[in-house]
């Protein structure tokens, strides 16, 4: 059936079994290919859901300006949705994000305000809140605290996963705004007894943690610890190693955060295999590798690639 708008093509992404990376016949890994969304990431779901919620609840009117702190994918998704719906978009992003992301945002018509590299997305959030104060007529969607973010996954990604994989035992995704994990996690917890919901959290270089004091830390308002079964920290070396294994063994060219999710999924798979337990482990391919080529992630040795990521927000 033909779509009458690009927005109709968001979601309903494929789930693919990873036969070569799965450790045992009854311990299987499954990749949810969110890079198949129209702008190439899982964030298209969130972008559309947040815009539609803001249209429904009132603040967004034709010609409105939308404001968002974003290190890339949400901004790119929003830029596409805003272009189609007739809104102006201002994105606040850390200056240490890849050049492709900036070019993509500009191409779709977004305006970019840079925030300092030190402090990472924390700073982007701070600068965006300041801008929102100065421009009360702008609409900040604020993905870190907007319930439409997790609901997009509760209503879309979660049901899609369960329909494709009724025997699912584990769900793994990257931890950023926490929206994917909260939404899919809550849905699966209602439907699947004993489901494990596990977060893969990127561990960055020291620059990114350069807070002046610990009270300036940040936990997204959406985050509810009780939805998760566990949370694993993954450094750039392991994330890159798994990203390369994914393309070498299964042909899936994914972004670096996907490597972190795969790393955690493989750890869970090995544990299940060792315990002799059946497992169907689904993880999210949040985006493709294209936007990360300039980071050096796919060139040279793993050590060289990991060194190139130092100080960058790679996920």
């Amino acid at each position: 059936m033909p779509a009458h708008s690009l927005l109709e093509t968001i979601g309903n992404t494929p789930l693919v079994e990873l036969a070569r990376l799965s450790p045992a016949p009854d311990v299987r890994l499954w990749a949810k290919l969110e890079d198949r969304n129209p702008t190439g990431s899982v964030k298209d779901r969130v972008a559309l859901a947040m815009i539609e919620a803001a249209e429904r609840d009132g603040p967004l009117r034709p010609g409105s300006t939308v404001l968002e702190p974003t290190s890339g994918n949400t901004g790119i998704g929003l830029a596409m949705v805003c272009r189609l719906r007739g809104y102006r978009l201002v994105c606040v992003m850390p200056e240490n994000t890849s050049v492709e992301r900036r070019q993509l945002l500009t191409m779709w018509g977004a305006e970019i305000v840079s925030s300092p590299a030190a402090g990472g997305s924390n700073e982007a959030v701070r600068v965006a809140k300041q801008l929102a104060g100065e421009h009360p007529d702008w609409v900040m969607l604020y993905q870190y605290g907007n319930p439409a973010n997790w609901r997009a996954h509760y209503q879309g990604t979660g049901p899609e996963l369960l329909a494709d994989l009724p025997g699912i035992t584990h769900f793994v995704a990257g931890l950023g705004t926490t929206g994917t994990l909260m939404g899919v996690g809550r849905y699966l917890r209602e439907k699947v007894p004993d489901i494990s919901v596990v977060a893969a959290e990127p561990r960055y270089g020291e620059l990114v943690y350069g807070l002046r004091n610990l009270d300036e830390g940040f936990v997204p308002e959406l985050y509810d610890e009780s939805v998760l079964s566990g949370r694993h920290n993954v450094g750039p070396y392991d994330a890159l190693r798994r990203t390369r294994e994914l393309v070498a063994n299964e042909g899936i060219f994914a972004g670096i955060s996907t490597g972190a999710a795969l790393h955690v999924a493989l750890g869970l798979a090995e544990k299940s295999a060792a315990a002799g337990e059946r497992a169907d482990i689904a993880f999210v391919v949040a985006d493709g590798g294209w936007k990360y080529l300039s980071t050096g992630a796919y060139a040279g040795t793993l050590d060289e690639a990991a060194a190139a990521l130092e100080g960058q927000l790679w996920a």
């Binding site: 924390n122 870190y144 990257g174 561990r203 943690y209 002046r212 949370r231 920290n233 972004g255 985006d287």
Partner: protein
Amino acid sequence: MAIEVRIPTILRSHTDGAKAVTGAGKTLGELLDDLEERHPGLRERLVDDGGLRRFVNLYRNDEDVRFTGGLDTELADGDTVTVLPAVAGGAA
């Protein structure tokens, strides 16, 4: 029993600038008590009356200790404990 503890930049004033220190303990709570003897003030930056502070994350071998028993998380010789501030991350 030796456990390596990785310290973020922001807390190195308590470790004479050291990126990593060594401590001992059968649980995370015991480890923090042990560290406090040589690195006074560190424990208070990580823990308050309610347990781990909100903007601090501790990991035992890369797993967040909030899901493995908190301060009662059991430790073994050769484990690594990593301390990190909570930041907004992800390809958000």
